[in-house]
Symmetry: C2
Subunit: 398 residues, 2 copies
């Protein structure tokens, strides 16, 4: 819509509506089996437990839970998060290192605000998370995509990018079950990234929403766990291991950076909902997260396998797909002359949907890709949708 | 703390920790009667009603209330807000004009992001809201304070500022019971602002958290209600008429601008907590806001009067104070050679606190002022604190 009469900031020229968002509108017809979204399985949310917790918090500490609170976040929740990170992701953080955020998206936006001047360089995986691209882009950086294979960023390519660009502000990475590719970084690649971060004095922004959704294999240490020099900012969230609609997440950052994040948070929304933080802290205290995560992992593992089985059987061999050990997504690569956008058009005719992969490359040019979600459709729909998808693919690839 | 090893964005040089925030730390000793904060009276929050609503929402629609939702916000809540604005503030908006935000602070931050390039000019009242100064400052504008008297911005001064500055991005105003001054704009001044906004093609950002907290006199139309040319962005919130800890607010903007706000919101935090929005919408549906607001108004009116009575009796005549018809704050002006900061030091020795007014002038220089809150201390503490304050003032002014 025309905004010519309003004198907007230049940065608004760089903003575009999210492609996923627009696509999701097209895929919301009930007859469509959608592998396009990134939604957790809502039927697994512990709604009954939350009903009881909510009632009790409001009855026993309602005035406090409904009042303004500290920007840093609820002290109990920060403590719980630090303990869990240390237990599960091999970090050594304390409650004082944690800032509660309104979703990890907010941590991405704050990172952009804190680090990026126009024209600065962000190094990222190729492909990378669309929500991060959008958050960063509004501060007008230049994206340099680093060659990435099944084990993470290729260290030689990363070092070349660090050598060739003198305004690199941070390296953005999703080391576990990446959105969109489903890939996980090997330990060697993690260590190489940390070493290069130190060598070039460049901060690492680690985005870790999926690490605890591991279906098989051994957990690997977070990048933050390998960092001995205060160069890693870690973004964690309750959205994928608990409930996304709460909008409750966190970041862990070295003290001088955390102070800046707190100032930015204060200007951005004062603090995350007091009530929501109390609800999450109370759930963690009463029930823990392990049981819920086990339940989620079991279901997602099964759904992933159902999808992989159909793909192994029916997907034309010209297309390749990743076999993620966890998370919510897998990634399909088509022959170079084929476009995921064209494929989506054909798929929508058959009432099945996914996200064309081009949008996950900030500099464009890899249109022969597709992101496929396996977390939020029922087992039956996963199988039926995968059949439909493969059938369209056969025709599409000829 | 030293951040020299991190290569931050230039805008971070302009950020400073909020003075109020730092002060509040000093005033949290239990023996201090604090008129410094801006907290609503927590004992008036409808915690029991919210307990029941929370339980029921989570039991009956838990999976949906805990899932991701649309960036724009809950459709029922947007509809309720539009209807209430039209009924109470004489606007003519529809649900489609509304974006739900995580507190009005987020609306301020988004406005800055959407409009301000470095060096652009923001026109504001003098004094103006500290949280807005901080939100805007992070985008590096130049502030031009417009002469403001008891009836609002002086139109001649506003027109002069519009003529003399060619990069004015918006005029920021809090027309009802302003924070910090407690002043309310007259109808003529409102109309004059709207006329000048149109004449110069400059957007108005109307911040209206307190309008419904009117103790006496007739409600005046919002600036948004006088705007026939899509030049006003309206910020409203549930924080002062309901519960601030929820972090639930909204903005109403002309369609081409609302589209930009939605895009910015998507990049900033995807959406405001689904559960919180359902809770607020359900409370409004079941109980409405009128009863709660009546209760709050009754208490704040009484507390304001208790404070005014002590000040009228005991405050040295060299100091003047505003007599707000609503809201949460009044404003004291000291003789020009006296500093609110010095006064605060003396007050803290006597265990009473307020906020020195200097911080509310973005360009500095009016240190002989003080913001005094009357909403969040009990009647007894209001009276005792006011006595203490006047006693210190007598000594301070000699």
């Amino acid at each position: 819509m025309d905004a010519a009469k309003y004198n907007l900031a230049q940065r608004m020229d760089s903003l575009r509506a999210s492609e996923i968002r627009e696509l999701l509108k097209l895929t919301q017809r009930p007859e469509v089996i959608s592998f396009a979204g990134g939604l957790p399985a809502a039927e697994l949310f512990p709604a009954q437990e939350m009903a009881e917790i909510s009632r009790r918090i409001l009855e026993t500490e309602g005035c406090k839970a409904l009042q303004y609170s500290a920007t840093e976040g609820d002290p109990t929740l920060r403590q719980q998060i630090a303990e869990r990170m240390n237990a599960k992701q091999q970090t050594q953080v304390s409650a004082d290192d944690i800032l509660i955020t309104s979703g990890s998206q907010q941590g991405l936006e704050f990172s952009a605000k804190i680090f990026i001047d126009e024209g600065d360089v962000i190094l990222c995986e190729s492909p990378t998370y669309l929500g991060a691209i959008n958050a960063f882009r509004s501060y007008q950086p230049r994206f340099v995509e680093v060659e990435t294979d099944d084990n993470g960023m290729v260290p030689e390519a990363l070092e070349k990018a660090l050598e060739e660009n003198d305004r690199v502000k941070f390296i953005y990475a999703i080391p576990d079950f990446q959105n969109p590719s489903g890939r996980t970084w090997s330990l060697e690649r993690r260590q190489a990234l940390i070493d290069l971060s130190l060598k070039y004095g460049v901060v690492v922004l680690e985005d870790s929403p999926y690490a605890e959704l591991r279906f098989e294999g051994e957990p690997l240490p977070a990048l933050k766990a390998l960092d001995k020099n205060d160069m890693v900012i870690f973004l964690g969230t309750f959205s994928k291991v608990f409930c996304p609609g709460l909008r409750c997440a966190w970041l862990a950052a070295p003290a001088p950076l955390l102070q800046r994040y707190i100032m930015v948070k204060q200007g951005a929304d004062l603090h995350t909902s007091t009530l929501i933080q109390r609800q999450v802290a109370s759930f963690v205290e009463l029930h823990g997260l392990d049981d819920n995560i086990s339940k989620v992992v079991k279901v997602y593992r099964r759904r992933r396998q159902l999808m992989l089985d159909v793909f192994a059987e029916e997907l034309p061999k010209q297309a390749t797909f990743t076999k993620p050990e966890g998370g919510m997504f897998l990634w399909i690569t088509l022959p170079e002359d084929k476009s995921g956008r064209d494929l989506l058009e054909k798929c929508l005719e058959q009432n099945v949907a996914f996200v064309p992969g081009g949008a996950f490359f900030p500099n464009g040019g890899r249109e022969n890709t597709a992101r496929v979600n396996f977390s939020c459709m029922s087992d039956e729909k996963i199988v039926e949708g995968a059949h439909r998808f493969c059938k369209v693919m056969k025709e599409f690839l000829g």
